[in-house]
């Protein structure tokens, strides 16, 4: 494993909950790792199980769904 390996995580964030939460985390200057690649969804219920599998197929190290 590379010394400076940084995981690449696909994130599905609900527009009304976690996305706003992420925004607040930014505004409040909470530190968190820059590992997420965010896709904003209108609801985390909108996230199809197939999207999660697709993320792994495309080489993401993990998938994070939050809402």
């Amino acid at each position: 494993m590379a010394e400076n390996y940084e995981p690449k995580i696909l994130a599905f964030l609900c527009n009304w909950c976690a996305y706003a939460g992420a925004d607040l985390a930014g505004v409040s200057r909470f530190q968190y790792p820059p590992t997420l690649r965010v896709i904003r969804t209108m609801c985390s219920g909108r996230v199809d199980p197939l999207y999660i599998a697709e993320g792994l197929v495309n080489g993401y190290d993990g998938v994070f769904v939050s809402g």
Binding site: M1, Y5, E6, P7, I9, W16, C17, A18, A20, G21, A22, D23, L24, A25, G26, V27, S28, F30, Q31, Y32, P33, T35, L36, G45, P49, L50, I52, A53, E54, L56, V57, N58, G59, Y60, D61, G62, V63, F64, V65, S66, G67
Partner: protein, 165 residues
């Protein structure tokens, strides 16, 4: 459901995480991201090329009518009762669900392998790591559903082909 399929595929289920965060919980969000990143870091990079067959089967299984219909239903099935006011037994429901997932995954794995050309039961068992008996049983189900068929003989070994798109 995805977690169970990943277990079957031999991929760490911790790679997929679900968390509830409200718009007012910025601190909680950063906490979760730190936690999930740490977990993924510990598991190391994920190489999809090592799991092409399994991931193909996971996707195929998730696309089946049976699993589409069952996904996200756990909540309703847990709470609801039938017209006789009988509640579902959560353990039994869990068992039924797991069996559905297992069966769809096995069948999807077989169809994925047959996508590359006709194979014998023994070849499929070797490639997938499934026991010969499991391959044979699932293949039978696929034949019954018109998704696979006997293709040809190679010596005295029967080979099967996929009829699925």
């Amino acid at each position: 459901m995805v977690a169970k399929l990943l277990d079957l595929a031999g991929i760490e289920r911790e790679r997929v995480q679900l968390r509830r965060v409200s718009a007012a919980e910025g601190a909680l969000f950063s906490e979760y991201v730190t936690e999930v990143s740490q977990k993924t870091l510990e598991m190391g990079p994920f190489d999809p090329t090592q799991y092409m067959l399994e991931l193909g089967a996971v996707q195929r299984a998730l696309g089946t009518r049976r699993l589409r219909w069952l996904s996200g239903m756990e909540h309703q099935l847990d709470k609801a009762e039938n017209v006789y006011r009988e509640k579902t037994d959560p353990d039994l429901m869990e068992e039924v669900l797991s069996e559905a997932i297992r069966s769809e995954y096995h069948k999807a794995l077989i169809l994925e392998m047959l996508g590359e050309g006709p194979l014998s039961v023994r070849e499929m068992a070797e490639r997938s790591g499934m026991p010969v008996y499991t391959v044979s049983t699932r293949l039978n189900e696929l034949e019954r559903d018109g998704l696979a068929e006997f293709n040809c003989h190679e010596g005295s070994t029967a080979k099967f082909a996929s009829l699925a798109a």
